[in-house]
Structure formats: structure tokens, C-alpha cells
């Protein structure tokens, strides 16, 4: 379920000197990168390191203080371009008074998707097809998270941002989520997953370590381990942050 073929050649996501300040605080501090289509990128960093602000800048939900964000070659913020982007927010962001299917249909309509097929497919993907008529308020936490994911990809976006998608869900569901993500990426979707859990890192194609609004390291899990000289990604994070000297 993907329209990755729509993506033009060149990077799917590009950040050019992105800066976002809130008063004195530099939440995002001069970040530049290019992310290739059809890969899964992990934004790793502790809470408050600027991951969510970075995603909000890339999706155009907030204007950068300086710099520029481009999605599929279009400078953000750009409202029309949002139909090519999926964003699963950190909070579920779904309507509790609506049923599962009504939520999916509502977000499908806001993205301009017609017909029931896309909704049915999205619900099937997150294994909620049999709960379509259930009120969202009556779902378990994990089921809500799955619905939230379905609402983020109901319009089959070529670029997908997932802000801490696996927080508070059980291990089985987490495995299922990552299987979905891989499936989507194989079909050409560019996925950016933020997490503060290092043990999810190895499921990503490439990692970006974020600390105090800066990208302190980028590479595959293997590259990063080699450069830091440790097998432990947490140790590696501290190494790139200049916190500890890792003895080789």
C-alpha cells in the first residue's frame, strides 16, 4: 500500500540549516541532512532533545527560525504537500466519541481520499478490521495506538513521520508495528521514526543521534558502533555526545 513511485528522484526529505528557537532555548540548532526514499530512519535521543520539534519543522507544522525543510522537493510549510505526508503524533490524536471506522474515514476525507477501500485496507493493516464499529473510547491503549497509525497512513503517503510510535505498547504489538514499517519501506515509503529506546535502533536502516537540537552522529547501527568502538548503542550515544571516553 504505497505510492512511492510518485516520489521524484533525489532525497525524499531535506533539511537545510534548520533552526528553531523558543525564547532563549535552541530546540533545533542548525540541522542539515538528506534522507533517501524507501528507507527507515531512526531519530534517537532523550526526551527534550528536539526530536518532535524537528518533525514539526519537517512537516511544516511550525515555521523555522532559520533554514528550510523540503519534502519530496517542495519547501515546507506547504498545505497541499501535506497530502503526501503521514504523521503519527506522540499523543494518539484520534476522536474518542467516534468509532474506529469513523476516525479512519474522517482522516481519509481530510486527505481527500475517496471510497472505502483505503480505509478498509488501513484498518486491516493494523488488525482492527473486526473492531471497525467499536467506539474509540472503548479501545485498549494498544488498539488506540494502532488506530492512530492507521489514520496516519490511510492516504498511502510516500513520506511517513512516526513520533514515538511504540511507546507504551506491548512487545508483540511492537514486533507487528516494525513488520508493517518494513513492509511500507520495501514498497518505497520513506519513514522517519523517533524513539528514545535504543533497542529499537537496529530495526532502522540508518540512525540519527539527536542531542540538544543537534545531529551528533549519523550512520547505520554497525557504522556507529564501529566509530564509537562499542557494541552498546547507549554507550555510543554518550560517546558522540562527548560525555564519556569509551576505552577501546
Amino acid at each position: 500500500m504505497n505510492s512511492g513511485a510518485v516520489a521524484p528522484p533525489g532525497p525524499a526529505i531535506r533539511a537545510i540549516g534548520l533552526v528553531k528557537t523558543f525564547g532563549e532555548i535552541r530546540a533545533v540548532d542548525d540541522i542539515s541532512f538528506e534522507l533517501a526514499p524507501g528507507r527507515i530512519y531512526g531519530l534517537l535521543g532523550p526526551n527534550g532533545s528536539g526530536k518532535t520539534t524537528l518533525i514539526r519543522l519537517l512537516t511544516g507544522l511550525t515555521r523555522p527560525t532559520a533554514g528550510q525543510a523540503e519534502i519530496l522537493g517542495v519547501t515546507m510549510p506547504q498545505r497541499a504537500n501535506l497530502s503526501r505526508i503521514g504523521y503519527m503524533t506522540q499523543s494518539d490524536g484520534i476522536y474518542m466519541a467516534l468509532t474506529v471506522a469513523e476516525n479512519a474515514r474522517f482522516f481519509a476525507a481530510t486527505y481527500g481520499v475517496r471510497g472505502h477501500e483505503a480505509v478498509d485496507e488501513a484498518l486491516a493493516l493494523v488488525d482492527l478490521a473486526d473492531r471497525a464499529g467499536t467506539l474509540t473510547g472503548n479501545l485498549s491503549g494498544g488498539q488506540r495506538r494502532r488506530l492512530s497509525l492507521a489514520c496516519a497512513l490511510v492516504h498511502r503517503p510516500p513520506v511517513l513521520f512516526l513520533d514515538e510510535p511504540t511507546v507504551g505498547i506491548d512487545p508483540l504489538l511492537r514486533v507487528q508495528f516494525w513488520a508493517h514499517f518494513r513492509q511500507l519501506a520495501d514498497a518505497g515509503t520513506t519513514i522517519v521514526v523517533s524513539s528514545h529506546v535504543m533497542d529499537e535502533a537496529d530495526r532502522c536502516d540508518e540512525l540519527l543521534f539527536i542531542r540538544s537540537g543537534k545531529v551528533i552522529a549519523r550512520g547505520t547501527g554497525r557504522e556507529i558502533r564501529e566509530r564509537a568502538g562499542t557494541d552498546d548503542l547507549e554507550q555510543a550515544f554518550l560517546y558522540f555526545g562527548g560525555e564519556v571516553e569509551v576505552t577501546r
Partner: protein, 381 residues
Amino acid sequence: MSGRRIGALFRRVTEEIRRDRPSIALLFIAPLIITGLVTFILREGERPTIEAVIVNQAGQPGTLVAGVLEETLREQDATVTEVPDEATARAMIEDDRASVGIVLPAELLTTSSPAITVITNGLDPAGEGTQLAALQKALLAGATAATGRSLPSIEHATVYGTPSEDPITPYAPALVAFFVYFFVYLLTGVSFLRERTGGTLERLMATPVARGEIVTGYTLGFGLFAVIQVTLIMLWVLGTIHVPAIGPLPAFSIGLGITVAGSPLLAFVVVLLLAMGAVSLGIFLSSFARTELQIIQFIPIVIVPQFLLSGVIFPVSSLPAVIQPIAPLLPLSYAVDGLRQVFIRGADLGVDALRIDLLVLTGFALFFAVIAALTIRREVV
């Protein structure tokens, strides 16, 4: 603007309200209960009983006046006692054994304009007003009898309608406007606050939905419920359904049966414009609140002053000169005036005052819609 997206928002908003039973009760039942209660109080309220004590300091000629006073007051279901001096009268009022004291001065018939003193306890201005009016009538009759000269009586005529015997008539239009304004604001405010705090607004902002589409979708959704609410209130306020006696149940009637001089449809338009403004006001104010409690806390700051300054109870012209200029800044003023024009004056679209009210209400609705839209993309960290 995309009709499809607005349609999706409209359906979602209406579906959410429809499932929220307490809100439905608040919208549809509460105004009926309150207007019914106010009407009942104004129409059927007990007249204060007059327990008069008369002090006659004028000797023999005063007895004649006192006698006539007693007679006229008794005709109005008052009790009358004569006491020897003013001190006794005051003591009786203090002890609640009398409600009003009338002192006929010694020079009652010797001067050309004698002053009769009336004493009350001063705790209930409205009730005392009624008593004074009754006394004045009695005094007039007393004076006529004492002097043998008949004084002119007063006949009341009005330009619009007939001098109303129904005390609710001037208040009904104002109450209709106020309830719609208040309940629509409250529901929109809370519902949009949930959108902001529940993370759904953030998510909505990540879709191609435009701010104007959100405000329009909300206005249409809540507008639909406002239409139903106004229809119900209008039927209740204007209608009378007589239910015949069934078995042991006596016959009774439903509806307040308030007469409206103009077109109920015009009244409807006035209220609908006000409701649309209230939707946007709710969205706008929700950006200053963090919790649902704070939406409630805006009521004494935003709603109650409007209630006091828009002519709902106190006519705008009776307000202190310093605060009178505030009234034209409040949308509720125009709705209250517009409804009174239609209800009492029987105004149609040919009446300038009503046209101005409609125009200003449209202006307010658009203005609030724009500022509501501006608050939607306010950055949340």
C-alpha cells in the same frame, strides 16, 4: 475551501455532539426549563400583601381621609390598623407585624400641598415599589373623597402592541438570545479545547485541511444544533398546546404562549447569526484555556458582563452613562434589540433598526470567524 473536507468536519462535529447526551440535554432541555421558570415566576408571582398601619395626626378631618384610605386598601386585599403615633408604627414594621406605615400630618387639610409620609423597612425595593404604587392609588382616591374634587386618572397606551398585561413579553426575546449565545459558546469552547488538548488539532494541522475549513465545519456543525435548539425554544415560547382533561388528570397547556408581533422566521435569522458568532467566540477563547474548568471560568468574565450590559434585564438606556458605550461593542446587544424589534414592535426588513442589527450581527460573526481561524495555527510546543 474544499466542500468535501468541510463536509467531513461537519459530519464529525455533529456525530460527536449527537453522542454526547448531557450536552444534548444542556442544549435542548435546559433553556426550556429556565424560560419556563422565569415566565412562571413573572406571571404567577405572589403580590406582596400590604399590612398597613395608619397614624392620624390630623384629628377629626384626618379621620375622614383615613377612613377612605382604609376602604380602598381593603379593596386591594390589604389589612389596615390604626395606631396612635409614628413610634408605634415604626416598632410594628420592625417586628414584621406591618409592612407599611402611613402618617397623615397635622396640617393635612390646612396647607395646600400636604406631605403624607410612608414608612417601609427598606429591605425589598421591588416589593416596596408595588406597595407604594398601591398606596398612591389609595391616596388618590382618599384625596378625592376628602376634597370633593376629582383628580384625573391615567390611561396607558403604547405605540407598539398593546399595554401588556403579560410581564414576560419584554424579557422573552432577550432570554432566547441569551440562552442560545451562552450554550453554544459553552459547547463549542469545551469541544474545541478537547481538540487542542487531545492532540487531534495537531494532527488535523498535519492534513491539508485549511483553518477556514475547520471554522466553517464547526460553524455548520454547531449551527445545525443551534437551529434545532432555536426551533425548540421558539415553539416553546410562542406556542400553546392545550391538552384536554384525561380521566383524573385536569386539562393543562404546554408552551408559554407569548405573542410575537413580527415574523418568527426573522427572529430565527437573528438568533442564528448570534449563534454563529458564538461558535467562533468559543473557538477563539478556547485558545486561552488549558482545561475545561477554564472555559467555565470565562463565564463570569465574558458572558455575565454581556448579560448585564446588553439589555437582557436592564435596558441599555438605564445603564450608567460611563458604561453605556460598551453595549454597542457586544453582539448580544444587537441580538436582544433585533429580537425585541421583531417580537414587540413587529418589525420586518423594512425597519432600519432591524436591518442594522442583522448587519452588525453578520459582521460580528465574520469578525469572530477570522480571529478564531487566526488562533488555530498558534504554535503549541
